[in-house]
């Protein structure tokens, strides 16, 4: 796809997002993350929902974390914004509203236009498996941020 060559060809945003939508629906990847449009009627393809399945052998195991992703107008040139809906205790995640600190996630801090929602979700999941996060005590399952 032209969008995936990354050789300087700038793919229009909507194309990119539609592509990602398809990937989300097809379950591309290892099945540990999922994403899709929050509102199917959203023509701007801005608000997305994501799902991360807690990696095994961590405190997050067997938990399903719901996230909200926002792809701004500059996407994919500009990074996207991620915030957890399900409460989580993790470095880089604001404990009061679940917003993922862009500076804490390397892919968000150093965003490249080849990055995608999948990449971000997979990166967040990878961080769950990091030593510093994998044992953090978690709030009871099923709690969501009030925002």
């Amino acid at each position: 796809m032209a969008a995936t060559t990354g050789s300087g060809v700038k793919v229009p945003r909507n194309f990119r997002l539609l592509e990602e939508l398809e990937e989300g629906q097809k379950g591309v990847g290892d099945g540990t993350v999922s994403w899709g449009l929050e509102d199917d009627e959203d023509m701007t393809l801005t608000r997305w929902t994501g799902m991360i399945i807690g990696p095994p052998r961590t405190i997050y195991e067997n938990r399903i974390y719901s996230l909200k992703i926002e792809c701004g107008p500059k996407y994919p040139e500009g990074p996207l914004f991620v915030r957890f809906v399900t409460k989580i205790n993790m470095n880089g995640v604001n404990s009061s509203n679940g917003v993922v600190d862009p500076r804490a996630i390397s892919v968000l801090a150093k965003w490249q236009n080849s990055y995608s929602i999948k990449v971000v979700l997979q990166e967040v999941r990878r961080l769950m498996m990091s030593k510093e996060n994998m044992k953090l005590p978690q709030p009871p399952e099923g709690q969501c941020y009030s925002n």
Partner: protein, 623 residues
């Protein structure tokens, strides 16, 4: 792709018409779609009717994955599929992948109704609230403990007993061992709040059996206690050391003014005599005749109590209670404060010393002095402690600078008035005495318990001679000295009985007594060797009783440390410690403590008290 994009974009029921038009496989039935179900470990393909619900989908899945439907969590496009939803609702079409998470049994799931899951879930969820409640109860416990903070706090102070009297003793011991602690206690707002309640203080005082005895003997004390103004004032002063000093200074000034009035001083003196004598007698049992208790006039007997202690709050004997006595005692206290404060002008110090001298002299005239003398005899350390006090030194300095003042002090003493001969003897000796007092060697000699004891022995010998062969005794000096000593030691000594008033009691009396005290031992010395200055203050006739006083080491130490603490409050005007403690250092050296620096430090810390310094050097605390 575009088609895919369109079809996978906004979930228009694009397939709807197609499905409705010609479902080849399912006549009049929704199209079967193939949905891939993907778990982190497996992937299975399911063919389900398009319009099936998630619940139905899960049932199909549960068979394949051998799990309960309640354990299944389906995720599509970042959303969890709820049982009542349909696949179409989520836009799940043919060929799309749904993610599956199988919840293990030990996961607390509110949804799982399966027995196994429920058991695991209930256990988990039950444990969670339990832990929460535990934490909550833990949080509430500190508050509960906080309410007991009073007693618990006391135990934290090292007092294991909540028994009032035991607490009192323990507090006293605590204070004895740590002057800093006393200061801290004084500054403790809790202590201060207690002190500010006159009724409470009065009750505490009344509760003290010794105080009760005192009150029986001396109804004036009870008057004092019952006077709320006096109590309040006393408490105020006890509570606020700074205020105490200030009051002392004010009283000192007032007293000095009073002295300037012709005959006024005598009036004061008489008042002291009237009040202090009964007070002294009353306090004898407890304090061994603390003359300064009487000087403190009003609730001097209360000196036994330590208001600064959190528990036993007997108010300070209000030295300022009866106005005239107040002034006198205030002067006494002022002397102390001015000495210790060191900020006071020499005039105030002078006035205070004059007043102090007067008070001391008047005190000596009471029989209580005798017992004090006895105390002093037995506890020369007290004297030496007092001698070490900076305020004493300041007083002595002021005295030396004003020989006339000293002379006036002596002359105005009722004792001297009763004995003009003594006055004549004293007068010429005054300047020499004062200078000698300033001499560090003298101070060292006075600080030396053995020297003091020797002086006491000389005095006693002279007294015996006086009784046996009056003609042979040149003067009453020895008696004076003894009396002075007794006075000096007296108030300091009997701290134990009432308790932790120690810090306050010595506070007051030490001052005026101090400068006079050293003169006592100097007396016999002067007559004998001429080294120590002659006694400048007359004392009562040396008919001292040999009533043994129950001076305890801790009291001495306590007083000594209190003195040091008080002294420490003011910029010390001490001569070089090394010079001061020259003799003690030599003694320590002779005993085998070769570390001169350590010896010096210990001596400085104990104010020249060799025994205490030795204990310090040995690493043990005075009890």
């Amino acid at each position: 792709m575009a088609e895919n994009g369109e079809s996978s974009g906004p979930p228009r029921p694009s397939r709807g018409p197609a499905a409705a038009q010609g479902p080849a496989s399912a006549p009049a039935e929704p199209k079967i779609i193939k949905v891939t179900v993907k778990t982190p470990k497996e992937k299975e393909e399911f063919a389900v009717p398009e319009n099936s619900s998630v619940q139905q989908f899960k049932e199909a899945i549960s068979k394949r994955f051998k799990s309960q439907t309640d354990q299944l969590v389906l995720i599509f496009a970042g959303k969890i599929l709820k049982d009542q939803d349909t696949l179409i609702q989520h836009g799940i079409h043919d060929g799309l992948t749904v993610h599956l998470v199988i919840k293990s049994q030990n996961r607390p799931q509110g949804q799982s109704a399966q027995p196994s899951n429920a058991a695991g879930t209930n256990t988990t969820s039950a444990s969670t609230p339990r832990s929460n409640s535990t934490s909550i109860s833990t949080n509430s416990n500190p508050f509960g403990l906080g309410s007991l903070g009073g007693l618990a706090g006391l135990s934290s102070l090292g007092l294991s007993s909540t028994n009032f009297s035991e607490l009192q003793n323990q507090m006293q011991q605590q204070l004895l061992s740590s002057p800093e602690m006393m200061i801290q206690i004084m500054e403790n707002p809790f202590v201060q709040s207690m002190l500010s309640n006159p009724d409470l203080m009065r009750q505490l005082i009344m509760a003290n059996p010794q105080m009760q005895q005192l009150i029986q003997r001396n109804p004036e004390i009870s008057h004092l206690l019952n006077n709320p103004d006096i109590m309040r004032q006393t408490l105020e002063i006890a509570r606020n050391p700074a205020m105490m000093q200030e009051m002392m200074r004010n009283q000192d000034l007032a007293l000095s003014n009073l002295e300037s009035i012709p005959g006024g001083y005598n009036a004061l003196r008489r008042m002291y005599t009237d009040i202090q004598e009964p007070m002294l007698n009353a306090a004898q049992e407890q304090f061994g005749g603390n003359p300064f208790a009487s000087v403190g006039s009003s609730s001097t007997s209360g000196e036994g109590t330590q208001p600064s202690r959190t528990e036993n709050r007997d108010p300070l004997p209000n030295p300022w209670a009866p106005p005239p006595a107040t002034q006198s005692s205030a002067t006494t206290s002022t002397t102390t404060s001015s000495g210790s404060g060191s900020g006071s002008s020499s005039s105030s110090a002078t006035g205070s010393t004059v007043a102090a001298a007067n008070y001391v002299a008047s005190i000596f005239s009471t029989p209580g002095m005798q017992s004090l003398l006895q105390q002093i005899t037995e506890n020369p350390q007290l004297i030496q402690n007092m001698l070490s006090a900076p305020y004493m030194r300041s007083m002595m300095q002021s005295l030396s600078q004003n020989p006339d003042l000293a002379a006036q002090m002596m002359l105005n003493s009722p004792v001297f008035t009763a004995n003009p001969q003594l006055q004549e003897q004293m007068r010429p000796q005054l300047p020499a005495f004062l200078q000698q007092m300033q001499n560090p060697d003298t101070l060292s000699a006075m600080s030396n318990p053995r020297a003091m004891q020797a002086l006491m022995q000389i005095q006693q010998g002279l007294q015996t001679l006086a009784t046996e062969a009056p003609g042979l005794i040149p003067s009453f000096t020895p008696g004076v000295g003894v009396g002075v000593l007794g006075t000096a030691i007296g108030p300091v000594g009997p701290v134990t009985p009432i308790g932790p008033i120690g810090p306050i009691v010595p506070f007051t009396p030490i001052g005026p007594i101090g400068p006079i005290g050293p003169t006592g031992p100097a007396g016999p010395g002067s007559t004998g060797s001429g080294g120590p200055p002659g006694p400048t203050v007359s004392s009562s006739t040396p008919s001292e009783t040999t009533s043994p006083t129950s001076e305890s080491g801790p009291n001495q130490q306590f007083i000594q440390q209190m003195v040091q603490a008080l002294a420490g409050a003011s910029p010390p005007q001490l001569p070089n410690p090394e010079v001061r403690f020259q003799q003690q250092l030599e003694q320590l050296n002779a005993m085998g403590f070769l570390n001169r620096e350590a010896n010096l430090q210990a001596l400085i810390a104990t104010g020249g008290d060799i025994n205490a310094a030795i204990e310090r050097l040995l690493g043990s605390q005075p009890s």
